[in-house]
């Protein structure tokens, strides 16, 4: 009896070896060396920062010194609701996002359909349409400021040339046209990318479907509306995601042209967040605006993520 409870040292060693082997054979352990560094970086800097930012938004942290985590409440979020600046910035953000995304989708789809018709210089045309994407928004904002220049800019000179001098206003100086001016410049920058996404989608549709619809006597408009465009759902979804994300990049544009205080005509949440936190040192309030922006972005992307899950793309 005593001999059976007493472990033979040789057997013990073998067990330990087996145990060690099963640990090294464990799939999770085997993938660790590959995951450790990226996971720590993402965990600490991305998710750690998000959690910390949420905590900061519950404090009253402002000015200089250290945040006080002893009394946490949603005061900053209550302040937001009665802050006219926040309401205006939210309105502008939504308008900009919708206008920009819609225009990019329409122009991108039209260009993709045109480029898809066996164009001789397809490569050059694509290169030109996508060219603005490679330039920093910081730079293109200044190029567009020159386009919009009230006296010497291309836009107003063209308008005057065709007899529309009456509408040749100071596009980025006038609070009523600022947002439109920003949207046009952003559409210029991103519609090429939208075209590339739709073009890739069009190329995935089998050619015989075009032919079948044509033989059935469908006109070109019907062919596209009824047969081709409904099949671009995946492209449409990914284009919307990219555009919604990039619309937040309007920050660069507005920051360079107007600084941190663009006024109610061009203020958007990313700019307001930066102003409150880094210019006015209202850290907690800035963090709270950032939380709203984060939640709004993720919520607006849920349908897309669900779609991907359904399509088993994950």
């Amino acid at each position: 009896m005593s001999s059976s409870t007493q472990l033979d040292p040789r057997r013990y060693a073998a067990l330990a070896r087996d145990g060690l082997r099963s640990v090294t054979r464990n799939e999770f352990v085997r993938s660790l060396p590959f995951l450790v560094v990226p996971a720590i970086l993402v965990g600490v800097f991305v998710y750690g920062s998000i959690v910390w930012n949420f905590l900061l938004s519950l404090t009253d942290f402002r000015g200089f010194g250290d945040p006080d985590y002893s009394s946490l409440d949603f005061e900053m979020y209550a302040t937001m609701l009665s802050d006219a600046t926040f309401v205006a910035a939210t309105r502008n953000t939504i308008l900009l996002m919708l206008g920009f995304t819609f225009l990019c989708l329409v122009i991108g789809l039209l260009l993709a359909i045109l480029v898809d018709r066996d164009v001789t210089f397809e490569g050059s045309v694509r290169t030109i349409y996508l060219l603005p994407m490679s330039i920093s928004f910081v730079v293109t904002s200044i190029f567009w400021a020159w386009m919009y220049n009230p006296s010497n800019g291309v836009i107003n000179l063209s308008l005057r040339a065709v007899g529309l001098g009456a509408v040749a206003v100071d596009w980025i100086g006038n609070p009523r046209t600022q947002l439109l001016a920003i949207v046009v410049a952003l559409v210029w920058q991103f519609s090429g990318l939208t075209m590339i996404i739709f073009l890739a989608g069009l190329r995935k549709i089998p050619r015989d479907q075009y032919e079948a619809a044509r033989i059935d006597g469908a006109g070109i408009r019907v062919r596209y509306l009824k047969v081709i465009i409904p099949q671009l759902k995946t492209s449409l979804f990914s284009a919307i995601v990219i555009l919604v994300l990039f619309s937040l990049k309007a920050f660069d544009f507005i920051f360079v042209l107007f600084g941190v205080s663009p006024g109610p005509g061009a203020d958007i949440l990313p700019v307001m967040m930066y102003r409150e936190a880094f210019s006015a040192n209202n850290w907690a309030y800035g963090s709270a605006i950032a939380v709203v922006l984060l939640v709004a972005t993720i919520v607006s992307l849920v349908p897309y993520l669900y779609y991907q899950y359904q399509q088993d793309i994950l």
């Binding site: 995951l35 970086l41 800097f45």
Partner: protein, 317 residues
């Protein structure tokens, strides 16, 4: 025979007639198509073209000529370019100091993570992958305040000074403000990993399972599989990710604004923004400065247009 001949000629005329009308219709359509595409191309190039022309003009030149017209001989000058080059030269180097290392490290980490999340099979793999994927969609504003506090607390300068056997900052060419390049690089890498992982993973999913399984059955270690089989097969993805990373990080403004505290470490985008803000009316200087700032990414774009398009169009996939 005569009849058949007449019939065949009739057929021929009918056919040639319809071909002609078809040809005419098609060619009108084609011409229209090319006109629309060319007009769009002109509209896309116009802001760049008028900026380029303006950059070579004198002050009186851009005030008096059309913005898109080439500079007349008496109003042409390179002053805008030399002035902005002198103002931005040092900051171009600053940008390169963190953009290049980040561009090289990011695809390596993305590829490693994608391998760890694709080839193996363990519980919790999908949630981890979903967390990585959500990382793509995080607006940078949501992390700015914590990041700025983090890099104030973490004293990279002192850490690096005590890291090796000698004080790093005592080495020739090393300056203490270079520590901020390390901060910028680490931040950009962390926020680039999710997208980079996604791009690699969508490639690794297509790799032959049988081949990898066979290698594993033969007792080949994971590291060897990665190094010998997977890595050589992912060269094209490396190019795509590197181009995406280089363009995004070079063009970034927000992280630099928040993280860089020493003016000596300013990247070119920040320097350009303040130069453009300070010289509102000297359009020749600001336009030239814009092209200088954009030059590296423009060159990368022209050399790797296809990979650039591939990378950016998969941002949301």
């Amino acid at each position: 025979m005569t009849r058949s001949r007449s019939e065949s000629t009739k057929d021929a005329t009918v056919v040639s007639g319809s071909v002609e009308s078809l040809f005419a219709e098609v060619s009108v359509r084609r011409v229209l198509l090319y006109v629309v595409l060319a007009t769009a191309a002109v509209l896309f190039l116009l802001p760049l073209e008028s900026a380029a022309m303006t950059s070579f003009k004198t002050v009186s030149g851009f005030a008096e000529t059309l913005p898109f017209a080439p500079p007349p001989p008496d109003a042409a000058t390179l002053a805008g370019w030399t002035q902005s080059w002198n103002a931005l030269r040092a900051t171009m180097l600053n940008s390169a100091m963190f953009v290049v290392p980040a561009t090289l490290i990011l695809p390596v980490l993305g590829s490693l993570a994608a391998f760890g999340l694709t080839i193996t099979d363990w519980r919790g793999q999908l949630p981890v992958y979903i967390l990585f994927m959500i990382g793509i969609f995080i607006p940078l504003q949501a992390v700015l305040v914590p990041l700025s506090i983090t890099w104030q607390i973490v004293d990279v300068t002192t850490l690096l000074a005590n890291l090796g056997p000698v004080n790093l900052w005592a080495l020739p060419l090393a300056k203490e403000h270079h520590a901020q390049f390390v901060e910028l690089a680490i931040t950009h890498i962390s926020f680039g990993i999710p997208l980079s992982t996604l791009l690699f993973r969508s490639h690794y999913k297509d790799l032959s399972d049988e081949m990898l399984e066979a290698a594993r059955m033969d007792g080949v270690g994971m590291l060897t599989i990665y190094y010998r089989i997977v890595l050589p097969l992912s060269k094209p993805v490396f190019v795509v990710v590197m181009i995406l990373a280089f363009t995004t990080i070079w063009n970034d403004l927000l992280f630099a604004l928040v993280i860089v505290s020493s003016p000596a470490a300013e990247p070119v985008t920040v320097a350009f923004a303040s130069l453009a803000g300070g010289m509102v009316q000297q359009f020749n200087v600001t336009m030239a400065a814009g092209f200088i700032t954009a030059l590296p990414t423009l060159l990368v774009y022209i050399m790797f247009t296809r990979q650039f398009a591939e990378g950016f169009s998969q941002t949301g996939v």
